[in-house]
């Protein structure tokens, strides 16, 4: 789980979570800003990718601009003892980008969440129906986003926390 990063590592996190410079040697540039060599930065990034500290290292595209016009949050009422198995089935679907188990709450009797991406809302419904058949679970809801109020990347180790 969590661990204490040195102040230099925190500085590196702050830079890597922003845009990588579009220059011939971007890691050397980042290193210069935090007092490391380019090779040291590369080694640290590789270490963080290998141990999962960096989940993803690459370009984040705007899905809607690239043809995925619909996304639906599917929420499922899965018996606790089947959650692991069902979660794995959902995770294997290419249309599912995120899948988590979460606690139930007052007025919210769903415990497995899967984000579905497709070209149209109809396709999202079809994907969800297919998943329902695969796992034999009928209790689910499909929540479409009607408005995006905010979408940013988290910035760690910055002042306001």
């Amino acid at each position: 789980m969590g661990r204490i990063l040195s102040s230099q590592e925190q500085e590196l996190v702050r830079l890597l979570q922003d845009d990588i410079p579009v220059t011939a040697e971007p890691f050397a540039g980042i290193g210069a800003a935090v007092g490391m060599s380019g090779d040291e930065v590369l080694a640290k990034v590789k270490e963080w990718i290998a141990d999962g500290t960096i989940r993803r290292f690459g370009a984040m595209v705007r899905h809607q601009k690239l043809g995925y016009n619909a996304n639906a949050m599917s929420a499922w009422d899965v018996p606790e003892e089947r959650a692991e198995e069902v979660g794995r089935v959902f995770a294997a679907a290419t249309e599912v980008s995120h899948c988590y188990q979460r606690p139930r709450a007052d007025g919210w009797n769903f415990n497995v969440f899967a984000m579905i991406h497709a070209a149209t809302p109809e396709e999202c419904h079809q994907v969800a129906a297919g998943l329902a058949r695969q796992v034999g679970i009928e209790g689910f809801e499909l929540l479409f986003s009607s408005r995006e109020f905010k979408k940013i990347s988290m910035r760690y180790f910055v002042e306001q926390e």
Binding site: M1, V13, L16, V22, M60, L66, A119, E161
Partner: protein, 151 residues
Amino acid sequence: MDATEKKIVTLIQAGFPVTAHPYAAIGAQIGIGEDEVIDRIKGIKESGEIRRMGASFDSRKLGYASTLCAVHVPPEKLDQAVEVINSYLNVTHNYERNHHYNVWFTLIAPNRERIREILAEMEEQAGIGPILDLPATRLFKIQVDLPVING
């Protein structure tokens, strides 16, 4: 985007090369030079197709706590509630969804205590609640690299 730009986007979405000359490495894979890759990526970024090109950290590995929150907000309170919720840099995604719980947002903070504190502040300031606090207990899949289907 033309065919070359789509190839570049697919490559750098899947994984930015962790090497001294990453743009040369990308160019080598699709048969163009480092300078052209750099020019193309600058162009793609200007067009807004790429939101950001960098690292996504696992909040837990950095010692942070995260959660998914849902709250019912009546229409007359919606604008103010969204303003209050979005005012926190800890809120990374916030959507209106078609459900009784119509506002869904993600929250990341240094610890669980801070999360509870922020949710209490939001309930108080926006006059909404209770806000459901649904931290993940198991992760089955996080993010996938969707292929470019319709650039």
